[in-house]
């Protein structure tokens, strides 16, 4: 039996008095795509940040391919190199060109030579239709292009797990599709992904499993057909109802 790609066990996390995560249990198999849905403030971003060790956790464990990455004394930099994360707000480095954004971490964190890093970056940029932007600065790109660069920047580390936090929320509607297509492509290639999203249509499309996060726990989970067509929990039904009313499903 091989360990799951990611296993979260009994994860609890508070900010001061506010307990955001109250015991999360979740495991992802290799090549599995899991979408996290839930109301704003339900803790989706916090959960992803915990997995990437950007937030210290209060209780529980997180295992990456069997290794406890929340154990004391773990080398957080090494762990993070193997986990990509893409943020809602892109967070590209504004003082660097697209190419420099993408090559920085491979060079400094993985120790690749400049030539190797550039070759790797050029290949990825070409694949996602960004070759002509390689020498531009982020503020000269559209939101969709910036977010695709952010994805490429994460992929350049060749992570075994990709975390996506509402990567289309900051985009104009007409730019959403180009970013979602990139993610579909990654899913088709077998990238293991944990995705927080408000795009229910996309979740239905791309996810192997959908988890509904509510009040700090995963209240309900299952294949997208089941969750969207026949939710069991009243609160899941309520949430999806509101989404339908908002015209997002």
């Amino acid at each position: 039996m091989t360990a799951p790609a990611l296993a979260i066990e009994g994860l609890r996390k508070s900010f001061g008095k506010l307990e955001v995560l109250r015991g999360i249990d979740l495991a992802l198999d290799e090549h599995e795509v899991v979408c996290l849905i839930g109301a704003s403030g339900s803790g989706k971003s916090t959960l992803l940040r915990c997995v990437n060790l950007l937030e210290p956790i209060d209780e529980g464990r997180i295992l990456l391919r069997g290794e406890d990455i929340t154990a004391p004394g773990i080398d957080v930099n090494r762990v993070r190199r193997g986990i990509g994360i893409v943020f809602q707000a892109f967070n590209l480095f504004p003082h660097m060109s697209v190419l420099e954004n993408v090559t920085l971490a491979p060079r400094k964190a993985l120790g690749l030579s400049k030539e190797e890093a550039v070759a790797r970056a050029d290949e990825l940029l070409a694949r996602f239709g960004l070759s002509d932007k390689r020498d531009e600065y982020p503020d000269r790109l559209s939101g969709g292009q910036q977010q695709r660069v952010a994805i490429v920047r994460a992929l350049a580390m060749q992570p075994g797990l990709l975390l996506l936090d509402e990567v289309t929320s900051a985009l104009d509607p007409e730019l959403v599709a180009e970013v979602l297509n990139v993610i579909r492509e990654l899913a088709a290639e077998g990238m293991t992904m944990l995705i927080a999203t408000h795009e229910m249509g996309f979740a239905r499309d791309v996810a192997h499993r959908v988890c509904f996060l509510d009040e700090g726990v995963i209240l309900e989970q299952g294949p997208p057909e089941a969750i969207f067509a026949a939710p069991q929990e009243p609160r899941t039904r309520q949430f999806l109802q509101r989404i339908v009313e908002a015209g997002r499903l």
């Binding site: 994360i85 967070n91 480095f93 003082h95 920085l104 964190a109 993985l110």
Partner: protein
């Protein structure tokens, strides 16, 4: 046009003032100017040298101090405290006092192996004082870089130091170049304070010339030199500020 009128009016009223012939005699003596200028110019090179040497040390030390003050967590509390106390003390004490204390106090100790030259200690005093100011400028720059930038860098597996070195500091420094240059205009002027330790720089040299000629024109010559070097620095600062503003507006439109 209105500027020309204004200048003419001021010039006329000054030159019609009852004391003008005496003042003209005392401050605008062409002959004294020509005689004293070469020596003052040579002495002014001392100011320029103090300025350049001090500037290099200030830029480096202040950055170090600012980084110390921005270190997070309880582990670094003593370092943060030390850096804060330093900045508070040396922004509080008048520069002239620091120059006296270091220039006369330390040299009087006659410590073996420690230089005794007033030029050396005058420069050190300027470095000590201006490092405190400039570190505040840097710190404001570091704090203006959004934490999500560091998070993005750390999430890629860069160490805290690498995130600082490649992501936070380049952005911080770029943003504070105009205020930094502003502080350097102040530093350039304050090099004259080193004269108080007996260093013969432009101001001291002009005092010597004044004493010899009983005429104040050498002061004017010195002032002119300081202005000549300040104006390009000031215009350059303006230009950088304007360029940044334009760039930000362009960024917002994009």
């Amino acid at each position: 046009m209105s500027t020309a009128v204004f200048v003419t009016v001021v010039a006329l009223s000054v030159s019609n003032a009852p004391g003008w012939p005496d003042v003209k005699q005392a401050f605008f003596d062409r002959e004294v100017f020509d005689d004293s200028f070469p020596a003052i110019l040579e002495a002014f090179l001392v100011n320029v040298r103090i300025f350049l040497v001090a500037e290099v040390f200030i830029l480096v030390l202040a950055l170090g101090l600012a980084v110390l003050r921005s270190l997070p967590g309880p582990v670094f509390f003593p370092l943060r405290l030390l850096a804060t106390v330093y900045a508070d003390i040396f922004r509080g004490i008048p520069t002239i006092l620091v120059i006296y204390i270091l220039g006369f106090g330390v040299t009087a100790l006659q410590l073996p192996g420690v230089p005794n030259s007033p030029l050396f200690w005058g420069t050190v005093a300027l470095v000590v004082v201006y490092t405190a100011y400039v570190s505040e400028v840097y710190r404001a720059g570091i704090e203006s870089v959004h934490p999500s930038q560091e998070a993005a860098a750390r999430s890629l597996g860069l160490t805290r130091f690498q995130a600082l070195r490649f992501v936070v500091l380049p952005q911080a420094v770029r943003r504070v170049i105009p205020p930094l240059l502003n502080d350097f205009i102040g530093l350039q002027k304050d090099t004259a304070l080193v004269a108080l330790l007996g260093v013969v720089e432009a101001f001291r040299q002009s005092q010597i010339e004044v004493a010899a000629t009983f005429n104040y024109t050498p002061y004017l010559a010195t002032a002119l030199l300081f202005v000549l070097i300040t104006v390009p620095l000031a215009r350059f600062t303006d230009w950088l500020t304007a360029r940044d503003r334009k760039r930000q507006q362009a960024g917002r439109l994009a």
